[in-house]
C-alpha cells in the first residue's frame, strides 16, 4: 500500500450513525456546525476541502472559517510557508484522484532525475518508474526580489480550492483558543474571532501559535523540531536548463551537523534546501564553499542568494494532537521525517476530515480513527531515522561513499535489470515511498550481495590509492 493511501473507513451509513449518536449526546457535527481551521497552508486547506466535499455528499450544511492572516500573493518570506516545494508524482496523482489537479501554472518544473553529488563523484539517477516523477512548486509567491511570476504558489492554489468549495478565508491572526461549555472560542488580537464547534489546528511549526494551546490543558505537546535552511538562487531560466536541467541535485557531504541538502531547479531560480542537526551561519557558509556544491553553479562559483529563511522542520511527532473538539493536523500533528511534508499534510487532513465527518469530534473519536494514521507515519519515521543513521555512516566513510556511487553508476549504465541502489536512494530522497518499503528493499539478498561487492572493491581501490599516494 502506498504511503499516500488515506485510511479506509466511514461511509454514508457511518455518517448517519454519527448524526444519530449526536442525538444521544455524543460530539459530532450537525447542520449549522461551525468549524474553525487555524492556518491556511496545505493541511488546513486540504482538510477544509475534504470536509466540505464529504459534507456535501451526505447533505450536511456546515460552515468552515480558515483563519490565515498572510497572503500567499506576497513575494518573499512573509507570503511563504518555507519548504523546498517538492511534490512527488505519487502525491500529484493521489491529489488528482481527490479532484485536486495541479495545473501547469503551479508546477515550476517537472523533476525527471536526481543527481547525487559526493566528493567521490556525481551520479545521475533517472526516475525508476514513470509515475515517480516529481513536481517542483513554490510555497509562496516566489522569492523576495524575484520578478512577478505568472506561476502561482501551491499553498495559494490549494487555499483557493478550499474557498471555491465554500470555505471562508478569514484574514486574521489567531492568538489563542478557549474552551467554552459547548464549543471552542477563537481569539484574535483585534477582538474578533468567534465561537465554533470544532477547532482544527494547522498552523505548522513555523509559528508560535502552539504556545497559546498550552493553556487548554489537553495533554498536547507540540512536535520536536530542528532548524533547516532554505535560499533561492536567481540563475535564470536558460542557465538552469543548461546546467541543472530537470535534475534535482542531492548533496551527501561529510560535514559535521549536515544531513543532506538539495538544489531544486524551478522557473528562473533554484531553491537550496539544507537539512541537518545544527544548522547555523557557519555550516551554511562552509557548505556553500564545498567544491561539490560550487561545481553545480555557473563558472564553479555560488552566486549570492536573494531570499532565505531558517524554517523549522519536524523531527518527532506531537504528543496527543487531539482532544474533544480539537485536532491538530499537518506539521502541527504528525508529518513525514525531513521530506514530503505536503504528503503528510494530505494524509492527516484526510484522516481528520473522515473522523470528523464519519465518527465524531470527541477525543475518543480522534484517538480511534485519526491517531492510527499519525502513528503509522511516526512508526515509518522511526525506520527513516535508522536509514538516515546508516546514510550518516556512508557520508562519513569514503570507501562507503565510493561503493554507493559505483553501485548506482553501474545500475544507471545498464539498460535493463533491477536498479536496487538507485531505487533505495530515490525513495530516501524523494519521499515517494514509505521508509519501511525502502528498508525492505535493502534486505533483498541481491542488494546486499552487490553492495558488499562494491564495498570490497572500494576498499581495495582505497588501499591502492592510499599506497600510490604514499609512494609519491
Amino acid at each position: 500500500m502506498s504511503i499516500l493511501d488515506a485510511d479506509d473507513g466511514g461511509d454514508l451509513a457511518g455518517a448517519l450513525a454519527a448524526l444519530q449518536s449526536d442525538e444521544e449526546g455524543e460530539l459530532s457535527l450537525h447542520d449549522g456546525s461551525r468549524v474553525a481551521v487555524i492556518g491556511g497552508g496545505p493541511a488546513g486547506s486540504l482538510f477544509s476541502y475534504f470536509l466540505l466535499q464529504m459534507a456535501e455528499n451526505v447533505g450536511l450544511e456546515i460552515e468552515i472559517n480558515i483563519f490565515e492572516p498572510r497572503h500567499f500573493t506576497h513575494r518573499g518570506a512573509a507570503g511563504c510557508n518555507h519548504c523546498g516545494g517538492v511534490v512527488s508524482e505519487s502525491l500529484v496523482q493521489t491529489l488528482a484522484a481527490e479532484g485536486v489537479n495541479l495545473p501547469p501554472k503551479v508546477v515550476q518544473r517537472g523533476i525527471e532525475c536526481y543527481a547525487l553529488n559526493q566528493d567521490v563523484g556525481t551520479v545521475e539517477i533517472a526516475t525508476p518508474l514513470n509515475e515517480k516523477r516529481i513536481a517542483a512548486v513554490y510555497r509562496g509567491n516566489g522569492p523576495r526580489q524575484s520578478e512577478p511570476l505568472e506561476f502561482i504558489g501551491f499553498d495559494r492554489y490549494v487555499q483557493d480550492l478550499a474557498e471555491q468549495k465554500g470555505a471562508r478565508i478569514v484574514r486574521k491572526l489567531v492568538s489563542g483558543l478557549q474552551r467554552l461549555g459547548g464549543g471552542i472560542r477563537v481569539l484574535c488580537p483585534d477582538g474578533s474571532g468567534g465561537d465554533f464547534d470544532l477547532a482544527v489546528v494547522a498552523t505548522g511549526v513555523n509559528s508560535h501559535f502552539l504556545e497559546g494551546v498550552d493553556g487548554l490543558e489537553i495533554g498536547y505537546s507540540g512536535p520536536e523540531t530542528r532548524k533547516a535552511f532554505l535560499c533561492e538562487f536567481p540563475l535564470g531560466r536558460k542557465e538552469i536548463e543548461n546546467r541543472l536541467g530537470a535534475a534535482l541535485q542531492i548533496f551527501l557531504l561529510d560535514m559535521p551537523g549536515l544531513k543532506f541538502a538539495g538544489l531544486i531547479p524551478k522557473g528562473d531560480l533554484a531553491t537550496m534546501c539544507v537539512i541537518g542537526e545544527n544548522i547555523d551561519e557557519q555550516l551554511i557558509e562552509a557548505f556553500l564553499e564545498a567544491p561539490e556544491v560550487k561545481r553545480c553553479f555557473p563558472d564553479g562559483s555560488v552566486p549570492p542568494h536573494i531570499c532565505h529563511c531558517f524554517p523549522r522542520v519536524n523531527t518527532r511527532s506531537a504528543v496527543k494532537p487531539f482532544a474533544d473538539r480539537i485536532v491538530m493536523i499537518g506539521d502541527t500533528g504528525t508529518t513525514r521525517l525531513y521530506k514530503d511534508g505536503i504528503g503528510g499534510a494530505y494524509r492527516t487532513a484526510k484522516a481528520a476530515a473522515r473522523t470528523v465527518m464519519f465518527s465524531g469530534i470527541s477525543e475518543d473519536d480522534f484517538r480511534q480513527h485519526y491517531w492510527p494514521t499519525c502513528e503509522k507515519i511516526e512508526s515509518d519515521n522511526n525506520i527513516g531515522r535508522f536509514l538516515f543513521a546508516v546514510t550518516r555512516q556512508v557520508q562519513k566513510w569514503r570507501f562507503l561513499r565510493r561503493a554507493v556511487l559505483n553501485m548506482t553508476a553501474a545500475e544507471q549504465r545498464r539498460a535493463t535489470g533491477p536498479r536496487r541502489m538507485s531505487s533505495v536512494l530515490w525513495d530516501v530522497f524523494t519521499g515517494s515511498a514509505p521508509y519501511k518499503e525502502v528498508l525492505l528493499n535493502t534486505f533483498h539478498p541481491a542488494y546486499v550481495a552487490t553492495l558488499t561487492w562494491h564495498i570490497m572493491l572500494s576498499l581495495v581501490i582505497g588501499v591502492f590509492s592510499f599506497g600510490s599516494r604514499g609512494q609519491r
Binding site: 492572516p69 498572510r70 497572503h71 506576497h74 518573499g76 518570506a77 512573509a78 507570503g79 523576495r144 484574514r171 491572526l173 492568538s175 488580537p189 483585534d190 477582538g191 513555523n206 509559528s207 508560535h208 501559535f209 532548524k227 535560499c231 551561519e281 551554511i284 557558509e285 556553500l288 564553499e289 562559483s301 555560488v302 552566486p303 549570492p304 542568494h305 536573494i306 531570499c307 532565505h308 529563511c309 531558517f310 524554517p311 523549522r312
Partner: protein, 537 residues
C-alpha cells in the same frame, strides 16, 4: 566574492523603528493624531475602560491644542490629506473625531491638565486673545507662570469669535474652550487696547516677557476706483458686525471679492441674510484657497461663483453702489505661489448689477497700534515673541502651533533648558504600510442638518457631531502608520523567537525584540502592517 559576504547580501536584520505618520507631518501643529486615536482603538488590548481611554486621548490632544472642539469644526484638516487609508477606502475622519472628543470633554467639564512644574516667578504678558495668544497663554499658565492676556475687544477669541460664522462654530463651544484656558490661571484683560495709556513699553515693564498675538484684522485693499464709500465692506468687518449684533444691510444683490475662507464665510453669511450672492475670484476654481468642502457647501446654498474675473471699478448712483465692473481673466505662467497667474483678456469687461460689495482678498496686522516695527520671526528681541496671523495670514491651526512653540521656546530660555527640537523627518513612506492587511471599512459619512434648513435656520450649526459608535468605528480604521499596534504577526512568525511579549501593553509597546536572535530572514519586516519594523541600519 567570499561566502561570508555572499550570505550578508541577503540578510535583512530587523529593528523596531517608530516613524512619523503622515497625519502628524501634515498637521501644522504636529498633532499626535496616531497617538490619541491609538489609545481609543487599542483600549481593549491595553485593558483601558472606554471612559479612561477617551480622557487619555483628549489629554494627548490638548497637550498641543487646547481647542479640539473648535478645531474639530473649523480646521481644514490637512492631516487627512496624507492619510494612507486614502488609497483604500478613504482617509480616517480625523477632524470629525477631534470634534467628537472635544464635545465629549466639554459635556463632562474636563479641566485642562497642568504640569507639575510648580509656580514660576516670572509674569508673562500676552497681547491678543485669539488662537495664538490663548494657545501661548495656556501653555505658559500650565507650566506655572502668571499670565495676563490683553484683548482689545470686549470678548476673547479673536478671529475664532469675530471671523467665523455661527453656522460653522457655535458661540458656546468657543466660550467653553476659552473658559477652560482661563481656569488654568490666565488673567484676561478685555477691552484693553494697546496704545495710549497701555503702551507696549508699559507692558514690558509690567511683565518679564511678552507675546504678540495681535492677528491680522485689517483687510487688504483692492486698490480700485469706488472702493471707499458706502456699500463696500471688508469681509472681517461684515462678519464681525454680524457676530456682534450690529448687522449690515447688504441689499438684494451682493458681490463678494476673493476666494479664501473669509470670502466663502462672507458669501454664505450673506445668503443667510437673504441676499443673492456672487463670488468674484480672479483665478479658477482649482486655485481657490478656501477649503474644498466649504466651496461645495456654498454651492449647495446657491452662492454663484464667477471665476477668472477681477474687479476693476465699483460705480455708485445716488450714493448707492449699483455696478461692479469686472475684467475677464485667463491663466498665464506660474507665479511665486506656484499657481498660474491670472492675466486680463484684452477688452473683455462685464458689468454686474449689485447693491453692495464685500472685499475679502487678504488681511494684515495693524502694527501701527504698537510703537514697534513689524517682526519678521517668532522671536523679535529679548523676551518678546510673536505668533499667529501677525506673522503671516494662516489658519487657526498654525496660530495655535506658533503659540505653543513660542511658549516652549520661552520656557526653555527662562529656565535655561535646551531649545525644543522639531519633529524628526522619519516619516512612513508610501508602500511601507500594507493596506491589504487591514479590513475594509468605509469612512464615516459627514453628519449635517438637512440642507433645506441651512438657510432657513441661519444661526444653526450645519454640521453635526458624529455618534460615539461612528467615532469608535473611525478609530478602528486608523492604520497606526509607523507604530506597533499589537497585531502579533512578528511574534507569531519569528522562527528564532526574537520577539517577547511585554507585560504592560499599549500603543507602540507590545513586544520587545532581541536583535541577537535575528536570523535576518526579513519576514517580520515584510509582514508588519504598519511599517514599524524596518531593516536595521
Amino acid at each position: 566574492m567570499t561566502s561570508s559576504a555572499r550570505c550578508k547580501t541577503d540578510r535583512i536584520y530587523a529593528e523596531q523603528a517608530e516613524k512619523l505618520p503622515p497625519c502628524r507631518t501634515g498637521c501644522p501643529g504636529g498633532a499626535d493624531v496616531r497617538g490619541w486615536i491609538g489609545v481609543i482603538a487599542q483600549r481593549e488590548k491595553s485593558g483601558l475602560p472606554a471612559d479612561e481611554a477617551y480622557r487619555r486621548a483628549w489629554e494627548i490632544i490638548v497637550d498641543r491644542n487646547p481647542f479640539p472642539s473648535v478645531m474639530g469644526r473649523i480646521c481644514p484638516h490637512p492631516c487627512e490629506d496624507g492619510c494612507n487609508r486614502v488609497d483604500k477606502d478613504g482617509a480616517v475622519s480625523i477632524n470629525a473625531m477631534e470634534r467628537f472628543i472635544g464635545d465629549w470633554a466639554i459635556e463632562r467639564a474636563w479641566a485642562l491638565p497642568v504640569m507639575d512644574e510648580g509656580p514660576q516667578a516670572e509674569s508673562i504678558g500676552v497681547i491678543g486673545a485669539g488662537p495664538a495668544g490663548l494657545s501661548f497663554a495656556y501653555q505658559m499658565a500650565r507650566r506655572g507662570y502668571s499670565v495676563h492676556v490683553y484683548e482689545a475687544s470686549d470678548t476673547p477669541g479673536g478671529m475664532l469669535r469675530h471671523g467665523i460664522p455661527a453656522y460653522r462654530l457655535p458661540e458656546d463651544i468657543l466660550a467653553a474652550e476659552i473658559a477652560r484656558i482661563v481656569a488654568v490661571g490666565v488673567e484676561l484683560h478685555l477691552a484693553s487696547r494697546i496704545g495710549g495709556d497701555l503702551s507696549l513699553a508699559k507692558l514690558r515693564e509690567r511683565h518679564d516677557a511678552l507675546f504678540l498675538g495681535i492677528g491680522a484684522q485689517r483687510a487688504r485693499r483692492l486698490g480700485i476706483p469706488g472702493e471707499d464709500g458706502p456699500g463696500v465692506w471688508t469681509g472681517t468687518e461684515y462678519l464681525g458686525r454680524k457676530k456682534n449684533g450690529q448687522p449690515i444691510d447688504l441689499g438684494r444683490k451682493v458681490a463678494v471679492i476673493g476666494g479664501g475662507n473669509t470670502a466663502i464665510d462672507a458669501a454664505r453669511s450673506a445668503r443667510r441674510d437673504g441676499a443673492e450672492v456672487v463670488l468674484v475670484y480672479r483665478r479658477s476654481r482649482d486655485e481657490m484657497p478656501a477649503a474644498d468642502h466649504e466651496i461645495e457647501d456654498a454651492l449647495v446654498e446657491k452662492v454663484g461663483i464667477e471665476c477668472l474675473a477681477a474687479p476693476v471699478e465699483i460705480r455708485r448712483n445716488d450714493g448707492h453702489v449699483r455696478t461692479l465692473i469686472v475684467q475677464k481673466m485667463e491663466l498665464g505662467e506660474l507665479d511665486a505661489s506656484g499657481r498660474r497667474r491670472p492675466v486680463p483678456i484684452g477688452g473683455k469687461q462685464t458689468e454686474m448689477e449689485v447693491d453692495s460689495v464685500i472685499t475679502a482678498v487678504s488681511q494684515e496686522p495693524e502694527w501701527d497700534r504698537l510703537d514697534q516695527e513689524a517682526p519678521d520671526g517668532a522671536r523679535m528681541e529679548s523676551r518678546l515673541w510673536a505668533g499667529g496671523d501677525a506673522l503671516g495670514l494662516g489658519t487657526a491651526s498654525i496660530a495655535i502651533a506658533q503659540g505653543r512653540l513660542a511658549a516652549e521656546t520661552m520656557q526653555a530660555e527662562l529656565r535655561g533648558l535646551p531649545a525644543p527640537q522639531p519633529l524628526s523627518d522619519h516619516t512612513v513612506q508610501t508602500g511601507q504600510v500594507k493596506l491589504d492587511y487591514y479590513d475594509g471599512q468605509e469612512r464615516v459619512q459627514r453628519a449635517h442638518i438637512p440642507t433645506a434648513q441651512w438657510l432657513s435656520q441661519p444661526d444653526m450649526e450645519v454640521d453635526r457631531t458624529i455618534t460615539r459608535e461612528a467615532f469608535e468605528g473611525e478609530a478602528g480604521r486608523c492604520l497606526s502608520c509607523g507604530l506597533c499596534f499589537g497585531c502579533q504577526q512578528c511574534w507569531m512568525y519569528c522562527n528564532p523567537s526574537g520577539y517577547t511579549r511585554l507585560e504592560t501593553v499599549g500603543p507602540g509597546m507590545y513586544f520587545s525584540f532581541d536583535p541577537e536572535k535575528c536570523e535576518g530572514c526579513g519576514k517580520c519586516i515584510e509582514i508588519c502592517p504598519s511599517g514599524y519594523l524596518a531593516p536595521s541600519e
